[in-house]
Subunit: 297 residues, 2 copies
């Protein structure tokens, strides 16, 4: 479950609530493509913006429509007691694993973050993936903290941010992490632009945003890297460079992928919770041209 | 209401819920000291960590025990629809005004933030204070955006972060903001260390963390500045320099003020929502010595 392609779908919604039909369509695309796991309620799934009831419902729908694909459910929240409640809900809804980011309002200390994982892992009956996303949590994990948390019960994977762009530096980075982390804990790369580099450098998984909308495209990169064909993985990723550039220009992947899903007719407009808005204007026009050219699937 | 000392109390709590008796004691201290307003559910009041029901209860308690002092209630949340619900709740509970920070998980654009204030101010029947706290929201307001938001209905104050340490630069900064903001909208300084400089430079209000626990100490600084005695305001603030240094060393004021409230016996330990922890160890010992030396009240 914590290797290969983990696909992170949007949770399409509008001011009336979650668009359940559109969410189910996204999940069925992923099941049909046979991704290795589904990351429901990741950052791309807007977990931080949903109520407890909405989150329980999303996990239930994902599990019901994922076929044999395991569902990893995001349980992050600002307050430890809320994380514990969301963890219980996710397990009751049938999630195969949970994903926990140290969400913050007040900047967290390493000691506070360790305390969070210690408390939450103590009462888990499914595996946990540590979610390191400094762009949204504003918390920087040290390698040493990865190592300490990886020793906790039920921890089975760490979702790391992008790796260095230089191949030797990327490989050295992953090797240095591996030296601190037990072998039963996998490392998964995120930041789609550096996924091929991450997989080629020894990451076992790709926690993927584009995988949630274009699973076949993301699977082609993943399978090439898993087969040891580093050049093919790199080439397939470099082909998507104009998309990675749009992510960079527009504050990350979410607003771009939301607009892509709207443009492809997979979800309705709007699909993000206000105040967030999908990419519009010139950027959206550029994206429409790109989607035609790249033939993403 | 949006001038003078606005005191921001803690919301003391533990894993069982809010310590209502301790919260009421804090509010009564502020009413007894005759602060100019009370900022309930500011960042110091841990608004981001509380449930909707808890927040409604906190505003009700504050209003009930504030006597004639107006209560400004924090209504920030990640999702616009939640902010609207919290705004309704605060008004029903008797808040005299609301305070809104652009909380983020995904980094917000200026357009998204303007949209948030536009939506929320449209259905308000009390005044609103814009809450600019980049350390927790990770959003940087431009002066131009201040100006646009200040034109919206019901906007009456902007809570700005600290001002430059140099007196001429601080004065120039406030004057440049005043040129963009209508005169019916006050400017209030936050960041306790630069409060005296802010008031001396033309800010009409101090949105104060220490004012929530030590109202007399904060009032002395405020009244000196309001009376035009800039030197006295500066001297009274500089006396507290070791406290400002502790704020800097420990990631802001919250954990230090929480520990101060515990040390003074005003609240029980713990008083912050996990994963947050009040200052402990050597820092707490330094704080205890300081509290004795400074005779804060």
């Amino acid at each position: 479950m914590f290797s290969g392609l983990s696909a992170f779908p949007l949770t399409p919604m509008n001011e009336s609530g979650i668009d359940e039909a559109a969410f189910v369509r996204l999940i069925e695309r992923l099941a049909d493509a046979s991704v290795d796991s589904i990351g429901a309620l990741g950052s791309t799934g807007s977990y931080a913006y949903l109520s407890r009831a909405e989150r329980a419902r999303v996990v239930k729908l994902a599990v019901e429509h994922a076929g044999n694909v395991p569902v990893i459910a995001g349980i992050g929240a600002l307050r430890t007691s809320d994380v514990q409640a969301l963890s219980d809900d996710a397990q009751k809804a049938g999630a195969s694993a949970v994903l926990l980011a140290p969400m913050s309002y007040q900047q967290l200390s390493a000691d506070e973050v360790f305390g969070l994982y210690e408390t939450v892992t103590r009462s888990l009956s499914v595996p946990l993936c540590v979610y390191d996303n400094p762009g949204t949590t504003h918390f920087e994990f040290s390698s040493e903290l990865y190592g300490r948390i990886a020793q906790l019960p039920n921890v089975r994977s760490i979702k790391i941010p992008g790796v260095p762009a230089n191949p030797a530096a990327a490989k050295a980075h992953i090797e240095s992490l591996r030296a601190l982390i037990p072998s039963h804990v996998t490392l998964g790369v995120s930041g789609d632009a550096s996924a091929a580099m991450g997989l080629n450098s020894g990451c076992e998984a790709w926690y993927s945003v584009i995988g949630g909308l274009f699973p076949k495209t993301a699977l082609a990169i993943t399978r090439a890297a898993q087969a040891g064909d580093m050049k093919a993985a790199t080439r397939l990723s470099e082909r998507l460079q104009p998309l990675w550039a749009l992510f960079d220009q527009h504050g990350g992947s979410l607003r771009v992928v939301a607009a892509a899903a709207e443009l492809q007719g997979v979800v309705e407009h709007p699909c993000l919770p206000l105040p967030l808005k999908a990419l519009d204007g010139t950027g959206r026009q550029q994206l429409a041209v790109l989607l035609d050219e790249l033939e993403l699937a």
